[in-house]
């Protein structure tokens, strides 16, 4: 089964780390990306670089900032192949964001009929 692991960061979590610790975390992310089950994934630039497009009164509206006005910040995702949810959960638990106060959402991916 294919799953998407949506990674949410706690604001300020990475900034609170030393440069050395940040580098170590970055390496963990790349290491996960290299695992055989992980078939895809991207890391996104910080939320300050985001732009949102929506429709207002029939017109396309472009604004600065992310869509979600939530505390946690969407930071990127992995795509992975796993036997079942429990196997996907094992990998999700290893995502650094989890131990740094963030969270990972596991969603099954739709396959084309």
């Amino acid at each position: 089964m294919q799953y998407a692991l949506l990674i949410y960061h706690m604001p300020g979590a990475l900034e609170a780390l030393s440069a050395e610790e940040r580098e170590k975390v970055s390496q963990e992310y790349w290491a996960l990306r290299g695992e055989p089950e992980v078939t895809g994934g991207v890391a996104l630039h910080p939320v300050e670089t985001a732009t949102t497009v929506r429709n207002q009164d029939g017109k396309t509206l472009v604004t600065d900032g992310p869509f979600a006005d939530t505390k946690e910040i969407f930071g990127g995702f992995y795509l992975l192949e796993a036997e079942n949810l429990d196997e996907a959960t094992k990998i999700a638990a290893r995502v650094p964001a989890v131990r740094l106060g963030g969270s990972v959402e596991i969603r099954p991916v739709r396959t084309r009929p």
Binding site: M1, Y3, A82, E83, N84, L85, D86, A88, I106, R107, P108
Partner: protein, 376 residues
């Protein structure tokens, strides 16, 4: 049998339909052909063949056929005996109580698929409409198949926490039924028996069963009409002594090695002590304190204070209660009130009873507290 099919196909609805068809076929054929040597195996095999036929006809479920192809090599017919079926029941229980499902979904699914209650029976027990419960069950089943929740007994490294989740669901069902719906309490006990039989080496499973039996035994004595009757005032002749004997026997059989004793076993031991003619308050108090230390639960710490009051006096108990931070909890106020009353601090006691009354949720509790206030 249903558990075996659900486990095999990973699909509740398919399993139910196939099982129904197999039973219908049996009802038609067995009177004339005779009952097979192994009726259970016949039913499961027949149901399986029906379901495979349906899957072949239905392209949407083609994915499941791939799954079946992978498992065809196992000698299913040889495995359908008494020892295979219990494993499937265990898989089913753990699946229904998977943490990826919302708690209310776990409860509904367990009652539907494991206890075999109908949708309407469950809806009535939880005071929701049949449509609401049907939606809840459908959502849960969809989540299981779409998100790939596996049908398996969890591996040893996560079994303790997964088992704790299962026991929590069973205990939740029991508590839901405790005052309001006796049929739910009975189902919880039935589920407890199934679990205890399947997991003989897990002391917490037996502990929960004993706890439920010991609580249930006192049902008939808990109320006098609309009035709540406290434990020490209950008519012991109204207790169900077979249930109490069974609860005590379960505890006696457990090897109560202190270091491995879990919360359900301790609670059951307390409940057993509470059925004795003369209450051993020092022992009860020690067990409550151990339970509070083990769980870190302020509510349990509060309950321990009640026992401490009996063993060591109300002043010591009040000190324990006042260290707790439970301002919205009805029983924190009522416990404080009772202790203050015993210490002769009438005005403070009355104020505390009023705080409890303001938070009381049932009529018997309200009447009890009003009675306490009036008696000053």
């Amino acid at each position: 049998m249903l558990a075996a099919l659900i486990s095999y196909f990973g699909d509740f609805d398919l399993a139910e339909e196939a099982a129904a068809e197999a039973f219908a076929t049996a009802a038609q054929r067995w009177p004339s052909d005779g009952v097979p040597d192994n009726p259970a195996a016949w039913l499961v095999t027949t149901a399986r063949h029906r379901a495979i036929d349906r899957l072949r006809r239905d392209r949407v479920l083609a994915g499941k056929l791939r799954l079946l192809a992978a498992t065809e090599t196992t000698h299913w017919d040889d495995d359908v005996d008494d020892t295979a079926i219990p494993d499937e029941r265990l898989e089913l229980i753990f699946t229904c109580c998977h943490p990826a499902l919302a708690t209310e979904a776990q409860v509904a699914l367990t009652l539907r698929a494991v206890a075999g209650l109908t949708n309407d029976e469950i809806a009535r027990a939880f005071l929701v409409s049949g449509e609401t419960m049907k939606r809840r069950l459908t959502r849960a089943k969809t989540k299981i198949s779409t998100a790939g929740i596996p049908f398996s007994v969890p591996p040893p490294d996560v079994l303790p926490e997964r088992l704790a989740a299962v026991l929590a669901v069973v205990y939740l069902i029991f508590n839901e039924g405790y005052d309001r719906a006796p049929e739910l309490a009975a189902e919880a006990i039935r589920l407890g028996r199934v679990l205890a039989a399947l997991l003989r080496d897990e002391s917490e499973v037996s502990g929960l069963l004993a706890l439920m039996l010991l609580h249930e035994a006192r049902r008939a004595a808990r109320f006098d009409g609309q009035d709540l009757v406290l434990l020490q005032d209950q008519d012991r002749s109204k207790w169900s002594w077979p249930d109490i004997e069974e609860g005590r026997a379960i505890l006696d059989r457990l090897d109560l090695d202190r270091s491995s004793t879990g919360p359900y076993v301790i609670q059951a031991a307390i409940a057993a002590l509470q059925t004795e003619e003369r209450l051993d308050w020092p022992r009860i108090s020690a067990l409550y304190t151990a339970l509070a230390d083990l769980t870190g639960s302020p509510v349990i710490r509060l309950n321990s204070a009640v026992a401490i009051a009996e063993a060591d006096g109300p002043a010591v108990a009040l000190a324990v209660v006042d260290r707790l931070d439970l301002p919205d909890y009805q029983y924190w106020h009522s416990t404080r009130a009772e202790l203050l009353r015993r210490l002769g601090r009438a005005d403070e006691a009355r104020a505390a009873y009023r705080e409890a009354l303001a938070r009381a949720r049932t009529e018997p509790e309200r009447r009890f507290l009003e009675g306490r206030i009036a008696n000053f």
